[in-house]
């Protein structure tokens, strides 16, 4: 096996397994769990563009999920616009909000930035909870919006089975991973990392750190909003406490931090490890040990931060490289 084949092959195998999974997984519950897993992997990868590469800690991404979910849902319920179109309108709107949030907050450091993003997200949630009508748009306050499952089919982004949702979120995840990979190798990616690690040094080299961060924020909030539309179409019911809760913002950040922020594999790895913990503990211990998965999350998070601050992707990548190196016969395949 040549080294390049050895590096490409596992990806191909992974993709094939992912595409074939619904054939093996016939239980609707397990498919549901897989869909949520990919949804969170997608959300976390989108978050990672800001939280990982730009080296800040945004804790309010649920606001973008909510903006995406509400925009496409309002457009389709009140104006009959296909959620596919609403999805991108929501993305643009969310991107705009992201830039508005980013403009003042990116000047802040550390804790201030984290607090400001929480305040923005919670402020937006409170507004949605208090507004029934925004001009002609029906928001319905805390009661939220229900999407009647009348018309199914690809055009309406609504299906009776779970398989189509699975493939949609899988494609979305693949696309966002490809985008992240491209960005990490682009000038923007280097600007972001440099600006996140050594803002002064980067600036003195002529990098416009603020612009790079804003660009990352615009993309991240755009992509996050797309997942909001998916969420709305998948669950068919949204309200501020569901799509805009602080818990979502925190879970996204947890997954990224445990998996390894700033790496491409980290968020997916984090979702792979954590989502099943949360789903299965809810299924099996939901009545007897409520909140067990959150305790596990907290413990894992602290252990990772203390002993493996770059996330679990680092030791796992090292293991993987060593195994691959042995497989193709030379020690430590580069890259």
């Amino acid at each position: 096996m040549t080294p390049s084949l050895a590096r490409g092959l596992p990806l191909v195998v992974l993709a094939l397994v992912a595409f074939g999974l619904p054939l093996a997984v016939t239980s609707a519950t397990y498919l549901h769990i897989l869909i949520l897993l990919f949804l969170y992997a997608y959300l976390t990868t989108s978050w990672n563009l800001v939280g990982g590469f730009a080296g800040v800690l945004p804790l309010g991404h649920a606001a973008f999920v909510g903006i995406g979910a509400y925009t496409s849902t309002i457009l389709s319920l009140q104006y009959g616009v296909s959620p596919w179109i609403g999805m991108f309108v929501g993305g643009l709107l969310s991107s705009l909000v992201g830039v508005i949030i980013g403009l003042p907050t990116f000047k802040m450091r550390g804790a201030y930035f984290a607090l400001a993003t929480i305040a923005f997200a919670e402020g937006i949630r409170v507004m949605f909870e208090n507004i029934d009508y925004l001009g002609p748009l029906q928001i319905n306050g805390p009661r939220g919006l229900q999407i009647p499952p009348l018309k199914t089919g690809l055009v309406h982004f609504m299906f009776a089975d779970k398989e189509p949702y699975y493939y949609i979120i899988l494609v979305m995840l693949a696309a966002v991973l490809a985008l992240t990979w491209a960005i990490s190798r682009s000038k923007l990616g280097y600007y972001l990392v440099a600006g996140g690690e050594e803002p002064e040094a980067a600036q003195s080299l002529g990098i416009n750190v603020a612009h790079a961060k804003l660009a990352a924020m615009a993309m991240s909030s755009f992509l996050t909003a797309l997942a909001g539309t998916f969420w709305a179409q998948f669950t068919l019911y949204i309200h501020p406490k569901s799509v805009m809760s602080l818990d979502i913002s925190f879970e996204i950040a947890f997954i990224a931090l445990i998996g390894g922020r700033g790496s491409i594999a980290g968020p997916v790895l984090g979702a792979l490890l954590l989502r099943p913990v949360s789903d299965f503990s809810r299924i099996y211990f939901g009545d007897t040990l409520p909140g067990l998965h959150l305790i596990i999350f907290g413990v894992v998070l602290i252990l990772v931060m203390l002993y493996q601050p770059r996330g679990l992707q680092e030791p796992l990548t090292r293991l993987y490289r060593r195994a691959m190196g042995r497989l193709i016969g030379d020690r430590g395949a580069p890259g």
Partner: protein, 295 residues
């Protein structure tokens, strides 16, 4: 007009309890330069300790301070020593390690859900305590007695902390560390021990706030979340690290929350608080009394 004065007074009283809770956060920030995201959860722990102490012994709610303060101090001391100190040691050159936020968020999740596991989700309160539901009538106005107790406790606690920092040798070491960790270390101050003490103090203050709440407030596992974000807002409003600022910031929030509903739907006041917070973050991040901050 009278009801506005009445609401203002009750807002100031409730706000002083918010301020008391935020006081713990500001003490920790003042020394360690980190925001403790688990602060609300520590307050929750303090409330449960007070609740059980009162329920099991039938003592006066405020007598439980004798139990709560030392327990919470030790708890905070150990928390900092075991979980946060290693981060400071490994990220020496970083002034505000962001990792601390993450680790304390982990602590938040663990504590809240442990409380849920152990005590269940139900709201608990102490029905027969001498303060519950008591009202003081001043002319035509009604003032809540348990909140009045909270108000004076907040003032007393602030005074004690102030005197400790100003008048004692240990307090001077704490202030020195907060001004310049390296210079303080060079003077023979063990900075990590000071961090432990500051964190223990902040946690104990959260416990005191818990005690003032127990006579009239429900105790439940996520009660801390209600105070968490409020405390963040208050300390930024008052100026991170400022003792007087924390109390005043708390009172401002309290007044907005209690007078606001006279003019708008009660839930909108929350949005106003967030807007005020963001305005301060952008326009005057050092807050009302904070020192100008070099970021």
């Amino acid at each position: 007009m009278l009801f506005i004065i009445e609401d203002t007074i009750n807002g100031i009283l409730m706000g002083s309890i918010y301020g008391l809770a935020a006081l713990g956060l500001t003490v920790i920030f003042g020394v360690l330069k980190v925001i403790n995201f688990a602060h609300g959860s520590l307050l929750m722990v303090g409330m449960y300790v007070a609740y059980w102490a009162v329920l099991l012994t039938g003592m006066h709610p405020y007598l439980s301070l004798v139990v709560v303060v030392p327990v919470m101090f030790v708890f905070g001391y150990l928390l900092q020593d075991i979980l946060i100190k290693p981060i400071f040691k490994s990220e020496k050159e970083v002034r505000e390690p962001i990792t601390v936020i993450i680790v304390t968020t982990g602590v938040w999740y663990i504590l809240d859900n442990l409380a849920l596991l152990i005590f269940g989700p139900q709201y608990r309160n102490i029905q027969d305590n001498p303060l519950r539901g008591k009202m003081l009538e001043i002319g035509d106005m009604m003032v809540s007695v348990p909140k009045l107790w909270g108000f004076f406790t907040a003032l007393a606690t602030a005074l004690v902390i102030y005197l400790f920092l100003r008048k004692t040798r240990m307090g001077r070491a704490v202030r020195a560390t907060s001004l310049d960790r390296d210079a303080a270390s060079l003077q023979g101050i063990n900075q990590y021990r000071i961090y432990n003490i500051a964190f223990g103090m902040g946690t104990a203050v959260a416990g005191v706030a818990g005690v003032t709440l127990v006579p009239f407030y429900n105790v439940f596992p996520t009660v801390g979340v209600l105070f968490d974000i409020k405390c963040f807002i208050i300390v930024v409003l008052g100026g991170l690290g400022s003792i007087g600022g924390a109390l005043l910031g708390g009172m401002i929030i309290g007044v907005i929350e209690s007078v606001g509903p006279q003019f708008m739907t009660a839930t909108w006041t929350e949005a106003i608080v967030y807007a005020l917070f963001l305005a301060f973050l952008f326009l005057k991040p050092s807050g009302l009394f904070g020192v100008k901050y070099d970021w």
